[in-house]
């Protein structure tokens, strides 16, 4: 224990002020302007059970994603084999994420291996079984690449979901990956949980449509939309001001190509001006289609539509046969990267399953807050009264420490942006009961020492010293069992455990350190004949 009383008083004051500093936004919602520069902006972060909102735990079916990829690859592979004049039969997607094919010509195997190495580096030959007419070759994705692809799938799903959540304009959405292929989504204060679920669960749709320059856009906007056309809106950045606005497009409704035809999308730096562009690569079929479409629509604009929003609509200068396209524009590096990710997300959709869903309406939330606060006030009051009754002035000191304890816990929650849930409020109340326990232990010991005739100073010393070890023991066990709860508890219960741990740690400070400071101050400053305990 630090000897100097002055330093200890200072520490106590600093800690209390720090807690109040972080609690200020919660206590005083609107600070006048010069002041609110210096204080943190956030109130205590309330759990969904207190503010209302929706909690979703989703699982991404990465296995299916791999299977879909293999399906597409098997089509491409067929083309490649035919081009290289390999004799084969029955290229098809097989169980798991594998492709099986029959080679009718032994020489074909070497060509196959070359093709794999050149064009399909992700694939490897898993097994070769001789058949009457040749060999049955099974191709699979090599394990490391499979793991990478799964991770990529999860990341892209995360990105897509984040994009979609933006549409709702929720103040503080939380989208957190969990485990290998799960995503936790928390949407506080959401008014339309059904819409959220629907849109998050759907897979992204990328479409290529031709812009209808022949018919009048204005006419269509007035309501006379030509047959086979639709109106879609696109984001457009004003070059001079950098402001984003939305502009309408009149498009031919038919989707000429979708994201299913994309193999991948990457960011490239255009050599000429050093500007970032997004490079699209179509799969074989897609490339063929693209070739045909661009050939048929030279001079027209091709709108690239993602989830119904037009991303860009460049003019088709000429027929494009390489199966590659570029989206140029005023991209910053970030924008290009984002677009590439979004497009890739379109190219690797994986089905998502909802594992867990919890929605709390705002009325229940506010009821819960009210009841929680009421219970805490009454419980604390009972304890405070009891301490005064039983230990008189010393009890009052313990009560003061108790109030500081509560402020500290709330302050720490605010400072670390931890979440306060309804069970968390219960945990806070439990800490109140346990915090005074430490004081009970100390005071009982002090009483015992006083009874044997020791001086006040000595009794205080012995009381605190002997009780301290026991207090540490009791707090350690409380914290250990709370840690177990944290490890596998869900939202509100996790809040219970977190608040409990913070409360226990804070009470170590307040019940022992702070009360000692107060005792020492009084016994040092005044000539105390008898301890009111």
């Amino acid at each position: 224990m630090i000897k100097s009383l002055k330093i200890r008083i200072a520490i106590t004051a600093v800690v209390c002020l720090a807690a109040l500093y972080f609690l200020l936004p919660t206590l005083i919602p609107q600070l006048p302007t010069p002041w609110n520069e210096y204080f943190p902006k956030d109130k205590i972060h309330l759990g969904l059970d207190l503010q209302g909102g929706m909690h979703l735990l989703m699982e991404i079916d990465t296995d299916k994603a791999l299977e879909s990829m293999m399906e597409r690859t098997s089509n491409d592979l067929k083309e490649s084999l035919m081009e290289s004049k390999v004799r084969f039969r029955n290229v098809e997607k097989a169980k798991g994420a594998t492709i099986s094919l029959e080679l009718t010509d032994a020489a074909g195997k070497t060509t196959l291996e070359n093709i794999l190495r050149d064009k399909y580096p992700d694939l490897e030959i898993v097994s070769t079984n001789p058949r009457d007419s040749g060999q049955l070759v099974t191709l699979g994705i090599n394990n490391k690449r499979a793991a990478d692809l799964k991770k990529l799938t999860v990341e892209h799903s995360l990105e897509t979901i984040r994009n979609r959540v933006d549409q709702f304009g929720i103040a503080e959405p939380e989208i957190i990956p969990e485990g290998e292929n799960r995503i936790l989504i928390q949407l506080p204060g959401i008014k339309d949980p059904e819409r959220a679920k629907n849109l998050i669960g759907k897979t992204a749709l990328l479409e290529f449509k031709i812009v209808d320059d022949e018919n009048s856009l204005e006419e269509a906007l007035r309501g006379n939309i030509p047959q086979d056309d639709i109106i879609a809106y696109g984001l457009r950045a004003d070059r001079s001001t950098g402001e984003k606005g939305s502009a309408p497009y009149l498009l031919k409704n038919k989707s000429l190509l979708t994201g299913a035809s994309l193999e991948t999308a990457t960011v490239q730096i255009s050599n000429r001006f050093g500007e970032p562009t997004v490079s699209l690569k179509f799969n074989s079929q897609g490339a063929t289609d693209f070739d045909r479409i661009t050939g048929e629509n030279v001079r027209k604009r091709l709108a690239i539509v993602l989830d119904g929003v037009v991303h860009s609509a460049p003019v088709i200068q000429e027929r494009i046969s390489g199966g590659q396209a570029q989206i140029t524009g005023t991209f910053t590096m970030d924008e290009a990267r984002d677009l590439a990710i979004i497009l890739r997300a379109g190219a690797l959709p994986a089905p998502v399953n909802i594992l867990e869903e919890r929605t709390v309406g705002p009325s229940l939330g506010s009821d819960s807050i009210r009841q929680g606060i009421m219970a805490t006030l009454i419980g604390s009051l009972l304890v405070i009264l009891f301490m005064i009754l039983y230990y008189r002035l010393s009890g009052t000191i313990a009560d003061l420490a108790l109030i500081i304890n509560i402020v500290l816990v709330l302050g720490i929650l605010a400072a670390f942006k931890a979440t306060l849930t309804l069970p968390g409020i219960a945990g806070l109340l439990l800490t109140v009961g346990m915090a005074v326990d430490a004081n009970v232990l100390i005071f009982e010991r002090i009483r015992e020492e006083l009874r044997t005739g020791k001086t006040i100073r000595l009794s205080l010393d012995t009381g605190y010293k002997k009780a301290f070890i026991t207090i540490i023991d009791t707090h350690v066990t409380g914290i250990v069992s709370a840690i177990f709860l944290i490890i596998f508890g869900t939202g509100p219960i996790k809040g219970f455990a977190v608040t409990l741990i913070i409360g226990l740690l804070a009470s170590l400070f307040t019940a022992v350190f702070v009360t000692r400071v107060i005792f020492d101050y009084f016994t040092g400053t005044f000539n105390i004949k008898k301890l009111s305990i």
Partner: protein, 302 residues
């Protein structure tokens, strides 16, 4: 003020026989109840399923609600009262699909009661997640017992640790038994209470064991039974008071915390009461038992 006079000397050790019989009866009833009920009435966090909390503006009964839900997927669901005009509809199916929810909940309720109801809370857990969770929960409880055992054994002695952990197991069995006897749903809140009690109930045990250790050092020649008795009496006010303060807070929680916290506060209540009892009447006999075993072993050796 002093509730417990300092010179108190009750004969706890003498009464331990009765206490053990009492505890054995309680634990047997608890275990029997669980077996008779065919396991625990698991909440959706453990078994999967859906919970829909609905509040009605007019006075309502569970039967009326069931009538409204006839010929939907919810007609065999459990409907229980949650508060004034508030009910919990619980079903084993997981209603993730929004369309299904509309058809089986919103439509029939609106048809029967117009818009005079409000869906306050919906929780849906897939059964796979539930099974996962069960395993994890049991694992964690056992681990936490072990953690306490190791901690006490390290701070005191192994036989003390054993006494402590047997008291803990006793407390957990009684909490679970009470839930089972009252046919309450075993939810994750109750599990949270169990963990808290595991961490808390050991505290009284530590206070007593601490004193026993101190007194053994001071009076090494005294018979252990005497020392234990003396220690319990000396720490009696401490034990009762610390439990009392926590009890005050738990009572406030139970009476004013609202229905959502009900499971938690009730289990805490049971746990705090029995936790105190077990610290005195379970941990100490175990320590004594070991002492007597060791003594008789030593006697036989001679």
């Amino acid at each position: 003020m002093e509730l417990i006079k300092p010179g108190i000397h009750l004969d706890f050790v003498g009464k331990m026989k009765y206490a053990i019989i009492f505890s054995v009866i309680l634990t047997t009833i608890s275990v029997a109840s669980v077996i008779i009920h065919g396991g625990l009435n698991l909440g959706i966090d453990f078994a999967g399923g859906s919970i829909i909390q609905v509040k009605f503006q007019k006075s309502m009964t569970a039967d009326k609600i069931r009538g409204a839900l006839k010929s939907t997927r919810l007609e065999n669901s459990i409907i229980q009262q949650f508060g004034p005009n508030e009910f919990l509809i619980r079903t084993a199916e997981s209603f993730h699909d929004q369309k299904l929810f509309e058809e089986n909940v919103n439509k029939p309720l609106t048809a029967a009661f117009n818009k005079d109801y409000e869906i306050r809370r919906v929780e849906v857990v897939g059964s796979k997640v539930g099974m996962d969770f069960q395993r994890k929960a049991i694992f964690a409880v056992i681990l936490s017992w072990l953690a306490m055992l190791i901690y006490i054994a390290w701070r005191f002695e192994f036989r003390y640790g054993l006494g402590g952990i047997i008291a803990l197991i006793h407390d957990v069995i009684i909490i679970i038994g009470t839930i089972s006897i009252l046919n309450m749903e075993f939810t994750i809140s109750i599990l949270a209470a169990v963990f808290f009690i595991i961490g808390y109930s050991i505290n009284d045990t530590i206070v007593v064991l601490d004193r026993i250790r101190e007194n053994v050092k001071l009076n090494p020649r005294q018979k252990l039974a005497e020392t234990i008795n003396m220690s319990i009496n000396q720490t009696l006010s401490r034990t009762i008071l610390t439990s009392f303060t926590v009890f005050l807070t738990v009572i406030a929680l139970y009476l004013f915390g609202g229905p959502v916290l009900h499971d938690l506060s009730f289990s805490l209540l049971v746990g705090v009461v029995f936790g105190t009892y077990s610290s005195v009447f379970i941990s100490c006999p175990i320590v004594l038992l070991f002492e007597n075993l060791q003594l008789s072993k030593m006697k036989r050796k001679k």
